[in-house]
Each structure stands twice: as structure tokens, then as C-alpha cells.
Symmetry: C2
Subunit: 350 residues, 2 copies
């Protein structure tokens, strides 16, 4: 391969730093240029991954933010593995859509079988990606299930199931992918969290928020533990969107119908209606989940070491950005106090 | 029974509201008086539970905060079920200690078999308590396991196990206890959270913090959903203490020893030592976990409807109080905005 795609946001200021051979694409202030391979090799030796085409795996790419992100990343010129389970079963049409999208946009986008509930499946998918590309740059943790209803009406088994998808799934993917990323001495984890874990916390999303709070906490811990291995972390924090993400439509419902009815008939009878109506009223009608996908593209195209620790998208302005701002500051302060301020940023391993 | 124990913090201001028969105990500004039963019945009819002896179940009472809290609550005059698993097995000596403590302090304290990992065991224990007392006033969620090590070196099964104890355990107890509390139209849930979910988040506690963040999120959701049933919530947020709680001593360790060694030999080699030394240096040497137990007593003795939503104990001043303050404010604001401000406080059901 004689050249690679380079994407730069501020081409003018970086004109001296690369040798473009031809202009590929210009979109939303992004200018993509084709550069020769030697320049990329030099950048890579210098520890920079600026503008390089990344090898990316996105989990939960059959729908929601995972789907939007994998499409947006592929259109931006990256090699993207849109991972999902049952690519030959109930997601066969989604897998076909991925193929069609790739053809239509001349994108390097591939559906790949990966069930986050199975370590074996995860291992096979990650191994396949690494064997095809000899590297893996970015993991986007997008797999996510939701649940809606009174917390008391969910069985412990339902809570365990939700934790399995939203948290243990990421753990399985990390355990499969991180040895490669650590070996490379450079990589990026993007976690799709939720504003509900830190912001307004409306009723009837308890079991879901519990898993997202856990995922966010795990992401924060991983960030510090991986920094010296040259692995960067960005936590994307979306709020609730009215369209595109099926926030409630595909939500799990309480298995204990008797208990759920007690809440529906009791003093809490109108809680659900008030909550859904209230949240809908707070959301701007033009809140578009595509903005979350576009932000993920931007994060990945930001130079290594300069990426934001968090990016928020709260159409309802539910306060999570402020809460997380204070929390991340408290974390930074503690790490400084105990002499670990270096793990606030990934080490550049030359 | 002709009289009950009444504990009041500000006796002078309440002198006109009760009929003390004799002074029982004075300690740390608390004055305990024996009042006649008729007065208590009247208070109860008025929807007040001020100063009444409560029927309390504490989970995880074999050690840590659960143990300290159950002893402190029993000494304060409440009927306390110190629940733990294996009361005839490996915790037999702990169960015997409970009995000895009860005798020594003339306290109404009982060890009871309750394994938070088993719905059957939980159901049996809660049913036994209700059948003995015909009521249950307070549940203290104290069951807690810790884990220490690089997140990547823990298997998903270990994370699931930790979630089972720290989160699903509380869910099982809630599902057993809440129907009774809702029927009574009055009750209190006390959740023992952790400052690590919102404060400094030092490394190597990721899987543990994930479960505590989840537990805290679930507690917040339950608080709103239970308020109209007359059930109050207090979340107690301790930081790390050097003594008495076995914070690290009994922690789970990563099952993947190979992965753990990579972290111990790699660029992260000194992270653990720096973290433990740094945290120890930040902690005041006189940080006493008994303060947490005393605070739980105080919370329970505070009149219904006036209890604090959170109580913090951070010997290291790790910032969780500030983060939670902002988060709880964001929650209050959202509930007000969507017209659910009433669920910020429990309804007094007359």
C-alpha cells in the first residue's frame, strides 16, 4: 500500500507536517487528503497517530449509537468492524445493510459476529480483526440494553442479565483486545456511558442506570490503569434522545408483573406517565443522536494524548456534564495528591 | 409491655411532647428516656415514628460496617436482626458473639441466617422477622465484598459475583421486605454506598467501584419510586478507613494471575504501592469506622420525613460529598422540572 487516508481538522495549521498527494474528501470542516506511506511511518515512529486511518471495532453496532458510530467512522475513512451477534440469524438483514452501506460509500466497513455475552465469541472476533489487520487501534463499547419499570418489579436475574450486556460485555471485549493494545503501546477505548447515571435520574430506570453507573466507574478505573500502557480513554455521555436510539421502545420490562401492577395501581400510578411526558417536554425536538456518532469520529481523529476524557450530549441538559465535571476534577485531585498525576493522560510510548 | 425506649437528641425542645417515666441513658448528646406505651401508640396513630424502637434488619452483619451498625443500633434500644450467612457454619462464632453482645448489653439483638445470594434464604429470613414482630421498619443494606487488582485481570465471572453480593443482594432483600414496608405505609432503607464511586477513584478498585456505583444508582432510583409508599431512603457514603472494616485485607484478588503479573511487571509496576501508600497518608490515623455506625443510629432516630438523603464519612476528604451534592441537586432539579418534586421526600401516610 503506497498511501493512506489522512483526515485533518485544521489543515492550514498543519500544512508543513505532511505530504498530501491528493485531496480525497471535504466535509463539515474536515479535509481528507491522501498522504504517502513513508510520512505515516515517520509519524508512527514519533508516537503520533494523527490523522491515520484506524482499525476500529464497535460493539452493539446492530442499532443505536453503535450503529450510527460505525457508519460515521467508516464514512470518515477508517476501517470499521461493526460487531453484533447473530449476523447470520436475526441480525442477518443488519449485516446485509452494513455490506450495502460499505459498497454505497466505498467504505472499509465490515459486519462481524461478536456476542458480548460470550467470551469465546468475543475472543474469536477480536482475533479475526487482529489477524486481518495486524493491529487494532480503537474499541468503541457501544453494546447496550435498556430496561424500564419500577425497580422492585425486576427480578435479580433480570438485573444480572442487564449487567452482563452493559458491563461484563465490555469486560470481555477488553480482556480480548487489551493485550494487543498494550503490546502496540497505543490505543483508544471509547465508552458509551449515559447521562442518567450522574444527571437527573428520572424514575423507572433504576436497573439500567445501575449498569451504566457501573460501566462509567469501570471506564474511569481502566483509564488510569491503562494510561501508562499508552492507552487513552474517552467516555461519551449521551442523554436521552427521542429518535434513532430506541431508548424505551426496545427496553426490557419487569418480569414480575404482579409487582409492576401494584406500582401501576398504587400511589405511584401516574409516575410513569408524568416521567415520560416530562422528559419528552424537556428534550428539544431536533435532538439528533447522529451528533453523538459525529463526536465519536471527532474524538478518534483527535491526536493521541489530546483526546477529551469525556464528551457530553444531553439534549435535556440534565446536569450530568456538571456532575461529571466535578467528579473528574475530584479524581484528578486525588491522583495528584497521591503522586499518580501521570496516569491522568496516556503515556506516549516512543 | 408497658413502656418503650425513647431516644431524643434535643430533649428540652420536646419536653412537652412525651411523658418520660425514667431516664435510661445519656451519651454524646443523646438522652434516652423510658416513655409509657400509650404515648407511643398515640404518636404512631399520628403517623410519627419519632423515638420509637424500630424493628431493623442489617445485612452483612458478620463484619465491617454491617457489624458495627447492628451492634450500635441494638445498644441504642432497637430490635436488631444481625443477618449473615452460615450462622451455623463458618460464621457460627460470629453468631455466638452476637448472642453474647446482646446478653452483655441487655440488647434486643439477634443473629439470623440470611444469604443475600439466595432469594430463598432472604425470603425466609425476612418472613421470620415479620412473623416474630408483625412489622419491619428499617432495612440496612450492609452486605459488601471488595476486590483489589488491575481491572483487566478480573474475569467476567468475578465481576458478576461481586455484583451479585453488592447489588443483587440488596435487590433480593428489597423484593422480600418492600411489600411489608409498603403495606405499613412507612419504612426506611439505609444503603451503605462508597465514596469511591464518586470521589477520588484510586486505581485497582474498578470492579468494586463498579458495583458500588451501581448500588448507589439503584438506591437513588428506589428513593424516588418508594417515596409515595411512605418509604424513606438514606444513603450512607463512607470513604476508606484504616481499621475495623478490612477494606483490602479480605478483598477478592484477580483470578487471572498471568494478566495481574503483566501489570505488576510492566509500566504499572509501582501503581499499587503508590496508591496504597498515598491513600494511607491521606487518611487521618484516628479515622474510626464506628462513626459510620453511630451516624446510622442517628439517621434511624431522626423523625420520619426529616432524614438526610445522604450522610458522608470520608476520612481522606476525597470529594465524594461535593460530587454527590451536585448530583443530588441535579436530580432534585429534574424531578421538579418534570413535576415530580413530591417524590424527593417520602409521603406521610396517615
Amino acid at each position: 500500500m503506497a498511501s493512506r487516508i489522512l483526515r485533518l481538522r485544521f489543515l492550514a495549521s498543519r500544512r508543513g507536517r505532511h505530504r498530501p498527494t491528493d485531496l480525497v474528501r471535504q466535509r463539515r470542516g474536515h479535509l481528507s487528503v491522501r498522504c504517502d506511506e513513508a510520512w505515516f511511518r515517520e509519524q508512527s515512529r514519533n508516537g503520533s497517530d494523527i490523522g491515520m486511518r484506524k482499525i476500529i471495532v464497535v460493539t452493539g453496532a446492530s442499532n443505536g449509537f453503535g450503529r450510527l458510530a460505525s457508519n460515521a467512522l467508516a464514512r470518515a475513512g477508517h476501517t470499521v468492524y461493526a460487531s453484533m451477534r447473530e449476523t447470520t440469524g436475526r441480525n442477518a438483514s443488519r449485516a446485509a445493510e452494513v455490506k450495502a452501506f460499505a459498497r454505497q460509500h466505498s467504505a472499509d466497513l465490515h459486519a462481524i459476529e461478536l456476542d458480548v455475552a460470550s467470551q469465546e465469541s468475543v475472543n474469536a472476533a477480536i482475533a479475526e480483526i487482529i489477524s486481518r489487520n495486524n493491529q487494532l487501534d480503537v474499541v468503541v463499547h457501544g453494546a447496550n440494553h435498556t430496561a424500564y419499570g419500577p425497580a422492585e418489579a425486576f427480578t435479580p436475574e433480570q438485573l444480572a442479565q442487564l449487567y452482563d450486556t452493559n458491563v461484563l460485555g465490555a469486560q470481555r471485549v477488553n480482556r480480548a483486545a487489551l493485550p494487543q493494545l498494550r503490546k502496540q503501546g497505543q490505543g483508544l477505548l471509547v465508552w458509551i456511558s449515559s447521562s442518567g447515571t450522574r444527571g437527573g435520574t428520572p424514575p423507572y430506570l433504576g436497573p439500567y442506570f445501575a449498569t451504566k453507573a457501573a460501566m462509567d466507574a469501570l471506564a474511569v478505573s481502566y483509564a488510569g490503569e491503562l494510561a501508562r500502557w499508552g492507552i487513552e480513554t474517552t467516555i461519551v455521555v449521551p442523554g436521552s434522545f427521542t429518535k434513532g436510539t430506541n431508548y424505551y421502545a426496545h427496553s426490557g420490562r419487569p418480569a414480575d408483573a404482579v409487582r409492576a401492577e401494584e406500582y401501576a395501581d398504587g400511589p405511584t400510578a401516574d409516575i410513569s406517565e408524568i416521567t415520560l411526558r416530562g422528559l419528552a417536554a424537556l428534550r428539544p425536538t431536533d435532538a439528533d443522536p447522529q451528533a453523538v456518532a459525529d463526536a465519536i469520529v471527532e474524538v478518534i481523529d483527535t491526536p493521541f494524548g489530546s483526546r477529551p476524557f469525556r464528551v457530553h450530549f444531553e439534549p435535556s441538559d440534565d446536569g450530568a456534564a456538571i456532575v461529571n465535571g466535578v467528579a473528574d476534577r475530584a479524581r484528578a485531585e486525588l491522583l495528584q495528591l497521591i503522586g499518580l498525576e501521570d496516569i491522568l493522560k496516556p503515556t506516549i510510548i516512543g
